[in-house]
Structure formats: structure tokens, C-alpha cells
């Protein structure tokens, strides 16, 4: 398979500087666009390519860009292009690799995106913990300014763009695009009501596009080599390649660039090396912590947005989290709900009050204090907290996804916790044992 996004990323994962990036075809897409393509042409190529957003929602990128007012239909003032580099979805670890190893690919994608929508200011909104990526992106930006690839009149084209690396002060919710915009404005990162959509009224009330790191990394290649080429890269119905990852107790956890539509079994068994010795596959979250569980019967499905959607889950970030047969499914869902309850911004009631309630019910079941009625309570919570429209943003519905599918596929495990009055999994017991020793040992 042809490597596109990772063509500059070797096994040592050393960073690619400007010279090495350009030597391998870097900034050719940008030069081509500035020389011979109008912003409208660029938007059309991206639309034709069927590129879908790699942050998790899978929204068509070209369509997103098409909502930005252009020319006379836009009031005078700034437009903004923001890269969402706030990778915090539990189990997602793909954008870190792209930024640490090939920062110029992201920058070129951002310049092209900004050119297409007519933005003159751009930000990489990156989580503060990504210190290596921050340093390398800043180094790459300095190289670009020194070489005329950023700033006034880029490569003599008349197009100008300023770009800033903006490290975040934390919180998962900043990955939601309107919350991210509030964070950029120096406010609490509560998501905003939509409409208005950021494409029309985003940062400081001006047209703003927020795209994921991986999405933007695709742009230079599509502009350089065309939509038809890009569509041939996928094995199924979706275009291009995708960063897929596997974490959990497999032999070779990692992150690989593979064609869209690669079967889950191939990702898990060939690339991740299968389960660790002595463990069986019980289920998996196909695209991060806020996606529904799938089970071994789904292994032959293609990792395409619609295929995974039809199976009752979402491809999300494309980073699989593996549940083995010696890890407690109730404990795993409890861990996820604890995360989401903690990361709720607190703005709306179902999320702020509902998720801690769900966490408490699950904690009771996990600790052996559960009652049969608790399962009805969980189903009720899934119904009302999980319904889109009951909450201000998608955090709480996302949190309910692993729970609702765990109740479907692992119902026996919930029952065994309740009937047995304890967690039946040895691994959990070992953890508990250790906690108790520490708690009482002093």
C-alpha cells in the first residue's frame, strides 16, 4: 500500500524538517494551488475527493468549507482556520504521531485550507501536554516564516496568512469545536448553541473552520495529486487512507496508516498481532471511548464510516480499544463514565447531574452493591441522557454509547455482578486487593 500521511514517518519516528519535507514532495500541493488553482477550485477538489473529517464525526470536509461566506457575500474582516489538535478522546493516539513526526505536512494542509476559505489567521489549538509536538510545530513554523511559506504574500502569490501554535490549558470538552472557540476567546470552554455555525460566526464572531489534524494532513496530497487518485486509495466506499490504532491487551499495540475500508480483523490480527497469550477477544470500541461496543461477530466489517454506523457504532477516531475476556466490561464502562462525568463542562443538567448518577449506579454494581432495578435505571439514563437534543452538545450522548452497547452485549456480566454481590473478574479483585493493602497498611 502507498503511504501518504506517514510517508515521512520511519520506524525511528524522527521529526521531518523543512528540507527533508520538501525533498520528498512537500509544499508541492501549496505551490500548485497558489500557481494555478483558485480557492473555489481547491474547495471543489476536496469536495470531489469525498474526504470526511477524521476527528470523529466524519462530516464531509469540502461541504464544511463550502459554508464559509466568500467574496462579496462576506462582511469585511478576518476569517479563521483552526486546527483541532486537542486529542483527548480516551483511546485516541493518532494526531500526536502526525504532529511529532511530520509537522510541515499539517502546516501545509492548514495553509491550503486557509487559502481555500480565505482565512488570514490560523491557530493550532493543541493540548498542553503535547510538549514535543508543540516544540516541533513551533520550530516548523519558524522555518516557514523564514522561507516565505507563511506571513505576508506567501511565495509571491498575494495570499497572506499568520499561524500560531496555541497550547490549551486542558479539559476534554475543548475538542468540541464551539467549546474550542470559546477557549480560544479566553472563556470557559462551554459549547455554544448552533446555529449560528462556526463557518458563519465562530471565533470573535467571524467565519471560522475547525478541522482535525489528520483531516488537514490529507489536504496537500489531494490538492497535489487530485480527487480521483485519492478515491482509489480506499478499499471500500470511503476515500483515502486512515490512521488506525489499537490499544488494550494485544501483542503489538500501535498506530498504522491503512486504506479506508480495511477490515477490522486485519487491523487487529495482522497489524496489532492479535490478543496477548491467554486472552480472548470479548469486544471492542471501534473509534475511541465514546463509540458503541462491537463484538467478535463484527470483525469482518470494513472500517468505513457507513459500515460501522450500520453495525450500530461509529468509526469515530479509528482507534480501537480492545476488551479482553479477563477484563471486566462493567469496570471498563465505569472507567469511561467516570471520565465523561469528570469532563462534563457542567453547563446543562442531563450531563452535569446525569453522568455522576450513572457513575454511581455503575460503581454500586461493580462493587457488588447493585440491585436488579439498577439495570432499569441505567436503561432509563441511556434513553434520556443519550438522546441527542436533550443536551447542549454531544458529550453526554457519546458517553452513553459504550454503556448502551455494554448492556446489550454484556448483560450477563451485569447480572453476575448483581447476583453474586461482587465483581467476578480476577484482575479487578487484584486491583482492589492492592488498594485495600495501601488503605490499611500505614
Amino acid at each position: 500500500m502507498e503511504k501518504v500521511l506517514t510517508r515521512n514517518i520511519g520506524p525511528e519516528q524522527t521529526p521531518t524538517d523543512l528540507k527533508a519535507y520538501e525533498a520528498n514532495g512537500g509544499y508541492q500541493g501549496l505551490r500548485k494551488a497558489l500557481r494555478e488553482l483558485s480557492p473555489k477550485d481547491c474547495q471543489a477538489v476536496i469536495s470531489d475527493s469525498n474526504l470526511r473529517g477524521r476527528g470523529g464525526a466524519g462530516f464531509p470536509t469540502g461541504m464544511k468549507w463550502s459554508f464559509v461566506p466568500m467574496g462579496d457575500s462576506c462582511t469585511p474582516g478576518h476569517k479563521y482556520l483552526v486546527c483541532n489538535a486537542d486529542e483527548m478522546e480516551p483511546g485516541a493516539f493518532k494526531d500526536r504521531l502526525l504532529m511529532e513526526c511530520d509537522p510541515h505536512q499539517l502546516i501545509e494542509g492548514m495553509i491550503l485550507a486557509a487559502y481555500t476559505i480565505g482565512a488570514d489567521i490560523s491557530y493550532v489549538f493543541i493540548r498542553g501536554e503535547y510538549v514535543v509536538a508543540i516544540e516541533r510545530l513551533r520550530g516548523a513554523l519558524a522555518e516557514c516564516y523564514a522561507s516565505g511559506l507563511l506571513g505576508e504574500n506567501i511565495l509571491g502569490s498575494g495570499f497572506s496568512l499568520e499561524m500560531y501554535v496555541h497550547p490549551s490549558a486542558g479539559r476534554y470538552i475543548c475538542g468540541e469545536e464551539t467549546a474550542l472557540i470559546n477557549a480560544l476567546e479566553g472563556k470557559r470552554a462551554n459549547p455554544r448553541a448552533k446555529p449560528p455555525f462556526p463557518q458563519v460566526s465562530g471565533l470573535w464572531g467571524r467565519p471560522t473552520i475547525v478541522n482535525n489534524v489528520e483531516t488537514l494532513c490529507n489536504i496537500p496530497h489531494i490538492i497535489d495529486r487530485g480527487a480521483d487518485w485519492y478515491k482509489t486509495l480506499g478499499r471500500g466506499e470511503d476515500s483515502g487512507t486512515k490512521m488506525f490504532g489499537v490499544s488494550g491487551r494485544v501483542k503489538n499495540p500501535g498506530c498504522w496508516e491503512l486504506p479506508m475500508g480495511t477490515p477490522i480483523r486485519e487491523i487487529l490480527e495482522v497489524h496489532a498481532g492479535g490478543m496477548q497469550d491467554g486472552l480472548q477477544l470479548r469486544g471492542f470500541l471501534p473509534g475511541g471511548g465514546s463509540t458503541d461496543f462491537l463484538v467478535p461477530e463484527h470483525l469482518d466489517l470494513a472500517m468505513d464510516y457507513n459500515v460501522i454506523g450500520k453495525a450500530g457504532s461509529r468509526m469515530g477516531t479509528g482507534t480501537l480499544i480492545i476488551l479482553d475476556d479477563q477484563t471486566c466490561p462493567v469496570g471498563m464502562v465505569l472507567n469511561l463514565i467516570r471520565f465523561f462525568a469528570h469532563e462534563s463542562c457542567g453547563f446543562c443538567t442531563p450531563c452535569r447531574e446525569g453522568l455522576p448518577w450513572t457513575r454511581q449506579v455503575l460503581q454500586d454494581i461493580e462493587d457488588g452493591r447493585g440491585q436488579l432495578e439498577d439495570l432499569e435505571t441505567l436503561a432509563y439514563q441511556v434513553k434520556y441522557i443519550g438522546a441527542m437534543g436533550n443536551t447542549h452538545c454531544a458529550l453526554a450522548p457519546g458517553a452513553m454509547e459504550p454503556l448502551q452497547s455494554a448492556l446489550k452485549y454484556f448483560r450477563d456480566d451485569f447480572d453476575r455482578h448483581i447476583s453474586g454481590g461482587c465483581c467476578p473478574y480476577e484482575s479487578y479483585k487484584a486491583h482492589q486487593h492492592q488498594h485495600q493493602q495501601i488503605g490499611t497498611g500505614a
Binding site: M88, G91, G186, K187, L336, A430, H431, Q434
Partner: protein, 177 residues
């Protein structure tokens, strides 16, 4: 700080000239001063380690916003510290992939070794232990950050090795396995 570096405000709170220089540089990018609130908090925290009530009031005054509004921003973000922290902050990942790979036991070991739980600082003021959302290194789980360093493939032996210099009296003796 000495007096020459300080600018007195009416609340008796102070920002250094260097802090003001850095904050004012951020103001060039925002349409109104409160827009630089998070940047200003980070600038002051970088100098002082944390954001005290006095620091908060000084920043708020400089940004022409109320201290209460700024505190609403400061307390929202987990990397802004409104209480003192140790020399190094440990950001311990307890999200799902690290949990599957046994981070609860590592956390117990770490807590025992340092004698602190989440939100606490060691007696020698070296380390503050905090939980953090998924660190995005799930293929190398369990992981944590110690100051700016990402530490991967954690196990109990690695905790012993990393914190070998922590004095015995600072740790919870009974917690040793």
C-alpha cells in the same frame, strides 16, 4: 522579585514587569482584554508555579475584568493550578486503555511510594500528583507525565526506579509491596 520589578495596584497585588510585557504581547491578538485571560493565567503560572488569589486579582485588574469572572475561567481548566503545586507535577493517565493495562495497581504503587493521593503534594514539595484525561499514548500504556516528560510502559519496578531518591519518611511505609 524586588520592589523595582513590581507595579503596585490598589489591591496590594502585583504583576512583574516581565509578566506584564508577556501579557501585553498577547493583547495584540485579541479584540478585548479579557480575551487574553487564559494566556495571562498561563504566563503568571509559568513564573510563579500556580495562581494565587493575589495573582488572580492582579491579572483581573490588568485585563479589566472582575476577579470572579477570571476565577470562573481559571477553575475550569485542569492545567491552571489555583493551589500550590510541587516542583514537578505528575499527570497520571487513568483513562480506559491505561486502565485495561493495569494502571490502578501502578497508581496504588505510586501513591504509596510518594505518600500522596490525587491533588496532594509530597512533604518535600517535589511532586504533586494529578489525574489527567487520556494522554494520547495508548499504544504504550500505562503512561504518565512527570513535568514535561512522558513516561511509558509503566510497571511497579519503573515506579521504584523513577522515584528511587524519594526519602522513606515521605512515603507511606505500609504501602510498600
Amino acid at each position: 522579585m524586588n520592589d523595582a520589578q513590581m507595579i503596585q495596584t490598589d489591591l496590594g497585588t502585583v504583576l512583574t514587569r516581565e509578566e506584564i510585557r508577556q501579557i501585553d504581547a498577547e493583547l495584540a491578538h485579541v479584540p478585548y482584554k479579557a480575551g487574553a485571560a487564559i494566556d495571562a493565567l498561563k504566563i503568571v503560572q509559568a513564573q510563579r508555579g500556580w495562581v494565587s488569589d493575589e495573582s488572580l486579582r492582579a491579572i483581573a485588574k490588568h485585563l479589566e475584568m472582575s476577579a470572579e469572572e477570571l476565577d470562573g475561567v481559571a477553575t475550569f481548566y485542569n492545567l491552571i493550578y489555583r493551589r500550590p503545586v510541587g516542583e514537578k507535577v505528575i499527570l497520571f493517565c487513568d483513562s480506559v486503555s491505561c486502565w485495561i493495562c493495569g494502571c490502578d495497581a501502578i497508581k496504588a504503587k505510586l501513591s504509596a511510594k510518594l505518600g500522596v493521593d490525587y491533588g496532594e503534594t509530597t512533604a518535600d514539595n517535589q511532586y504533586t500528583l494529578l489525574p489527567v484525561p487520556c494522554l494520547g499514548a495508548c499504544d504504550r500504556a500505562p503512561v504518565m507525565m512527570v513535568a514535561d516528560d512522558l513516561i511509558t510502559h509503566l510497571d511497579e519496578a519503573k515506579i521504584d526506579q523513577l522515584f528511587a531518591d524519594v526519602k522513606a519518611e515521605d512515603s507511606v511505609a505500609g504501602g510498600e509491596q
